[in-house]
Amino acid sequence: MSLATENSAKVALQETALVAVHEELGGKLVDFGGWNMPLHYGSQIKEHHAVRNHAGVFDVSHMTVVDVDGSDAKAFLQKLLANDVAKLKSPGKALYSAMLNEQGGVIDDLIVYAMPESYRLVVNCGTREKDLAWMSEQAKSFDVAIRERADSAMLAVQGPKARELVNDLLKVEALNDLAVFHGIDLGESNYPGWFVGRTGYTGEDGYELILPSNQVEAFWRQLISHGVAPCGLGARDTLRLEAGMNLYGHEMDDDVSPLVANMAWTVAWRPAERQFIGRSVIEAQKAAGVKTKLVGLVLEAKGVLRAGQSVHSAVTDDGVGDEGVITSGTFSPTLSCSIALARVPLSIGDHCYVSIRKKRLKARVVGPCFVRHGKAVAVS
């Protein structure tokens, strides 16, 4: 067998404020988009279950936080994003959106929060440079300032007990009433520079917290001592895949339309006069009708579905090219079988066949969501 040699390159990786803590906890650190990040702390599967059943904390400080302010901030984001920030009627509300290129492909997917006087975007680490370049380019005709917040750390605390445990530690009354997909600045609650969003990437309840880098270690240690499990990015991937959430570079990229990546719901078509970038192209795609869709697959045999494996509508290849491809695949710790997201022809039936090495294995076609709040869904 051949083992991936993550540490052999020895290139200078970026580090979060928690790198020494990850090492102390026995984290297996790997190159993750140029960052030295923990893949797991012993068992990825145990960490996965900790989030489904109790609470886990992830260091996600590699994510890029960008603040947008200025008198044109709203107009700028209404052009930049396929979803409409006009939906953010009160400070703290969050919106998931694609940022499209002129060809209607996805430059990145992101979360935008309405702040009292500005907007805060959280974008992917792997797309940081092209995102910032694109935003700066598009900002030229607007009165806006785009500032990356590289001074912040970011943690995701996720799981059925996550909010209760964080609330006990922070003792901020307002957190008890924080609604799903809302965020709150804790600056006026004795936590200057802290921002807490009731968001996540696991299918469980919980928070994503942005806080000053020099305070993150103490807070991390408090969480661990209160029974929150340290979790690596390996578990983050199996959790998001079970939850049917997209990963940039897998389910969508610069050449993939949001309409075939389960992101049509994030495109705000109205008002019709809002000319966001990429609109005309995806509007034409919508009118013409898309040919593929993103579905979930559940492997009925033993084995593991992986990104790139081809999907067939029949057990034998009839040569008509009626084929799809797996965009993300893994072993699901919650369901104890392999699951995947796959882009397939609209005509796909209840079952399909996946090429795994020399075999064609049968898989069930389901909605692209496998687990929510600890329970299996859509997998009958």
């Binding site: 067998m1 051949s2 199996t238 593991v304 893994t330 072993f331 710790p333």
Partner: protein
Amino acid sequence: MAELRSELKYLSSHEWARVEADGTVSVGITDHAQEALGDVVFVEVPDLGAEVNVGEEAGVVESVKAASDIFSPISGKVVAVNEVLEDEPETVNSSPYDDGWFFRVQPSDLAELDGAMDQAAYQALVEDDD
């Protein structure tokens, strides 16, 4: 530090071989390999009675992270496969040298193992890796 055993022969591709009392050869993956792979979730071993060849692909081990081919350290006929791994692949993580063996071969030429590494040589390779 990963566990190593002196009675085993090793391949640079992280499989081990053990000559059993009955002259058959058991095959598995090393403690270092299971640690590097992370949680093992699927193992594919050769069919009973199949012929395997030294240095050639003889199975697959999949962790949550990735799939890796298993190479046979010896040629011969497969006389036993570890059926426990079908339902409890995590045994490879918990007991890589004992309960987590993959398959057993009736070797056609035991001398093939002379080409494999001993504990010291494999240890040096693993330390080089780290």
